[in-house]
Symmetry: C2
Subunit: 437 residues, 2 copies
């Protein structure tokens, strides 16, 4: 392992570039400046591009105008590390334990992104592809401004193929290429019955409790068999072909792996579909957060005035997030009783996407992965969402190859996120082969 | 108004003696020391009594061993002031605006308790009653240690009558005596499906969401007509007599006042009962707080591992909180699906209580209130809970007269709690008449 790469990754990981919370604005800026400096140093021309939200970094290095161009997408923003008390080390002081680097963003996405920067540095001009980087700072908050940027900069981003390492392999000897990504529709609901919290003794029995109303609304969203009850929700869901179902059924993971990775008591999912189908080919609905009233130590005898929930749906082709937004808002409004008012705020809407795996660069990626990991990559439909992959396909018509260098137990979005040192190194090597042959 | 009393009340209100949160332990101590010093200065012998939780203050002043003795109960602890951002002034920097003192505890209970301390000071030895104070520091967290203390100190607390000012009048010209108080059973529920939060893209569709399960359980607790569905919940509820129903129906408040005081969109309550019956004679169930997953700004795409709720029930005679604890725990356990585990922690259990209003001291209280407020007090069943009143009645067999000097819009347990200067002064004067005649 090249110590220089590792030291630099540590520097990058130490910047708490959390995009969801505005108090980290200066760290976002620092992450941009860090990337710009790094990319300049290894021969790229760079540009920090302002958006309505967090800035983007664009960088390019042309070896030969006649060579094809590969666009590398990544993101420098990270998820909030809370609950902090569950981390064994500071999320922004990277630490190596048992062959893994622990830090927020280690796997998602700083570590994986850095495999491409390191490969570009190692190769220098010995590439047989021209390189463009587009690195955003809003992936974890729905890539809100990415579509507009792509629409306005089609020629800047022109490329023959896009590569994204923001997913995972099955194991250090079994690579994985995702050929589809779910979309997302993320909302925040507010239920209000009163403008303030009131005494539960004096008013208990005579006023409506927004936390109970919110619970009732949430309960109505799903049946016990995990079917989503929002009218029209499944209308445009693409049916899997027999061939696809058979292909997915061969993926070497199942209930056992899910239980091991999550520690869940049981697997629970939509009836009539396999674990693999539910993970990538079926849409979902989850409560990501909920809060109302008194949530600290001990007791407080109040009836809250308002209750909130963050609720998101993972969407699959050909669901349209804008259509989902409409029916979700209608559902909440229809289920709000007369003694309450509800508000639904949209936090993000991202389209699902499927790549054309007949694109010849997939073969090139396969070759590189086989050489480094020792086996042919498996193809899967990913359950996650990368808004940028959808924009790059739908607006620029460029396919993305999702070469994942994380592992399933990396704990991305969870406490104690890590990346395996072995995967980090293999990632750099595979990228070098992909870029140089 | 006596400026000295006001200045001293301000001092007392400035101490953030929040019992629910352990970080305020030193403020609890300060409130005790403040009370002890004050009561000593006006001729009382005092004792700070340790408990397993917050200490109690006992004080006595004997004028004449042959005189009857009145026990004054109050509490020095206050509710948490959050949400802080909704206060117009610092909850622990009392401020007078528009004839009211604004501070956490202004009405509940420091201000009302202080009317008795001020009356005792003004009268000095000119009392025709011996005086005992018992002031606790755990009223807002369920008076957990009060029953044990009373059981162990029956002779210390012996008295002919108890007075408690920890409720409210209808208006500054219409006093109110509560002759009954609801009990309470307060619980915290934890639903867990996984030991950690996980990525909603990778695992969404295959693992159970504890926030949804919690919503389902809460939804099942009440029907749409506000009936509580916990089996056996209504079993021991005392039926109101025709006479009582008719008496309660004469109380000069109703839906209009509830809407004005709370700002609620609508009144909502158990079908088949009047506003007054629901407020004091019928049990309730409320969610006091709920939390799970990500609750900060923006979005985080996780499935939480655990979800929590604080849920309390106000109980009426002859419901037994220990019986309610049993059936509530059974309800939660019966409704927890196999893919989750649930835990119910009991935060407090207090019995409901009814006083014998034929006790002659009620007439004495009536006379004092009529003289100061100008009209005969109305009798009501209060919706609130004062654990101590129940212990004093059930263990010592002493009736309590609940002479309320708050007003319905005091906002106790809410932001911007206040006490009216007029009520504070009238309270002191009525107490002086009660104590001296």
């Amino acid at each position: 392992m090249n110590d220089k790469h590792l030291n630099e990754l540590f520097e990058f990981l130490s910047i708490p570039s959390i995009s969801a919370q505005s108090e980290y604005r200066k760290d976002i800026k620092q992450a941009c400046l860090w990337l710009e400096k790094k990319l300049k140093k290894i021969g790229f021309e760079t540009d920090i591009i302002k958006t309505k939200g967090q800035p983007l970094i664009y960088a390019e290095r042309f070896v030969n105008k006649k060579f094809p161009t590969v666009l590398v997408y990544g993101h420098y923003d990270v998820q909030s590390p809370d609950p902090l008390e569950e981390w064994f080390s500071d999320p922004f002081k990277p630490e190596i334990r048992g062959g893994n680097i622990y830090a927020r963003g280690a796997s998602d996405n700083k570590g994986q992104l850095f495999t491409w920067i390191a490969a570009a540095e190692d190769l220098g001009k010995k590439c047989e592809l021209n390189l463009k980087f587009i690195i955003e700072g809003e992936e974890e908050i729905g890539s809100e401004n990415f579509d507009d940027f792509v629409n306005d900069n089609k020629s800047l981003l022109s490329a023959d193929i896009c590569v994204i390492s923001d997913s995972h392999a099955i194991s250090p000897t079994q690579p994985l290429i995702s050929y589809g990504l779910r979309g997302i529709a993320y909302f925040e609901i507010k239920i209000e019955t009163m403008p303030k919290d009131v005494h539960s003794g004096i008013y208990g029995g005579n006023v409506a409790n927004p936390a109970i109303i919110l619970s009732q609304i949430i309960s109505k969203m799903k049946s016990e068999d995990e079917k989503i009850n929002i009218e029209g929700f499944y209308r445009n869901v693409r049916k899997l072909t027999k061939q696809e179902r058979s292909l997915l059924s061969k993926l070497p993971f199942g209930e056992k792996e899910i239980l091991e990775e999550t520690g869940a008591i049981n697997v629970l999912g939509e009836s009539g579909f396999s674990v693999h189908e539910r993970a990538g080919a079926r849409p979902t609905l989850d409560v990501n957060g909920v809060w109302a009233g008194y949530t600290l130590e001990g007791q407080k005898t109040i009836i809250p005035g308002v209750a909130h929930a963050k609720i998101s749906m993972r969407l699959v082709p050909n669901q349209d997030p804008y259509e989902i937004e409409k029916i979700f808002k209608k559902f909440v409004s229809d289920n709000t009783p007369v003694y309450a008012k509800s508000e639904v705020k949209t936090l993000s809407l991202n389209k699902p996407v499927i790549m054309d795996i007949k694109n010849p660069y997939f073969k090139k990626a396969e070759k590189a992965l086989i050489k480094v990991f020792g086996s042919r990559p498996i193809y899967e439909l990913s359950g996650g969402t990368i808004g940028a992959a959808s924009a790059i396909k739908n607006i620029l018509r460029i396919d993305s190859i999702l070469m994942g260098y994380g592992l399933p137990d990396d704990g991305i979005h969870s406490p104690n996120e890590k990346i395996s040192l072995e995967m980090f190194e293999k990632g750099i090597n595979a990228n070098k082969i992909f870029l140089f042959g």
